[in-house]
Chain length 234, copies 2
Amino acid sequence: MRMSVNARQTALYELRRRIISGELQGGDKLRASHLAEDMVISRTPISEALLKLEAEGLLIGDKSGFTVRSFSVQEVFDAIDLRGLLEAAAAERAAEIGATEDHLQRLKDLLDEMDGILEDKNLDAYETLNETFHVAVLHASRSPILIEEAMRSYRLPFAGPSAFPIKETDHNRFHSSILTGQEHHRLIVEAIEARQSARVFSLMREHARVAHGNVEAALNARHATPQLALVKDA
Amino acid sequence: MRMSVNARQTALYELRRRIISGELQGGDKLRASHLAEDMVISRTPISEALLKLEAEGLLIGDKSGFTVRSFSVQEVFDAIDLRGLLEAAAAERAAEIGATEDHLQRLKDLLDEMDGILEDKNLDAYETLNETFHVAVLHASRSPILIEEAMRSYRLPFAGPSAFPIKETDHNRFHSSILTGQEHHRLIVEAIEARQSARVFSLMREHARVAHGNVEAALNARHATPQLALVKDA
DNA sequence: AAGTCAATATTTGCATGCAAAATAGATATT
DNA sequence: AATATCTATTTTGCATGCAAATATTGACTT
């Protein structure tokens, strides 16, 4: 069961995995003592992990004990929009201060690479690269505060830019939402380069909303998508 | 030294206090063992507090040990703008969905109360009420995700809506920035009531920027303002 | 059946012990 | 003087023990 060298990491990663994989359901009460026994480590690193995951927003710590948080559909949408908002602010800032040559080149390279991947229909690889692209936009803002906070918003398993809950269930929709997304990416880089800060703000914010439709589709399909394990049905 | 009933709270609050008050300087390395001895509690609750404060952004946890984080002036501005952005999103949402009668009434009551306080020149009380008002705007959004995240942005001692670093040093400026702020508040409530979401977004975002000037003034005055203790000079 | 309360069993909060890691100090080497 | 090497000291990571807090059971009452 032990997954990494030290107990602290074991506790944090394994616990997070269990939560976002759906192995632990929203509402489940967590017993530090039981978890410790289960992972064959002591309770000390477990408590620490519980505290961290509470700060991350995956657990709710009422007095005496932690409970796995569950999210309403509206909260899922809000978390996605929040990510869009923060990314939009970063893109806006990048346009305002002007992206460095390096940052701009990196964005263009990523665009090209993603184009290549789309031609090969290698959709799995796109998922990863998509997140890389989003992070590259954040970095173009050169604002540690914005970068930090936007990346924090990625932690909820359904909110990050690489969350495609329909990947398994609806291949067509997945493919077409990727095509739309890639179109957005191109416009976003273009707007940053042209220093159109207001425009890139709108573009980026809207770009995140592509995910709304996907979440809805996945929920209708009622397939047990791990990324939506924490979504409570109405 | 022990300040509250249980050691966990003692550790967290006391440690946070020491950081925000400037008692601990940016860059200082924290020794759990020393802190524990100093607060007459064991190292366990100290470690937990360190972890929490790292998640809060006040500490940086490099391998083996925590260091008090310090912020550049630009980072202070960015943190203020981030708060403004999140509050703006909440106000926008409130306008979009329409604030409930209760929320709107609460906002108006707070406006009146603040007016009264300004007439009495009771500026200290204004500080608290100002934050209450901002929180009331957040709640009008009825979005737990937004509320949570915006309030999180208040934690940095210079970023929250009740941070007036010039309160002590420049009474005139303090007073006039409050008057401007109160003007904004009125427009913000008006815009929420009129469901003018785009307008209230701009208003709220700009409202946070009042704080920029105050920070600059306080830094120029070079008085040791505790709220700016973590700001590293260029 | 539902509520009350005592008795019991779990579970947590927190101190502490100890091995391992990190840091600081001292001494030698270039 | 700067660098490297070894040693002594401090500090951390984590397990564990124990009292206090919490949850659970079940008998008893309404």
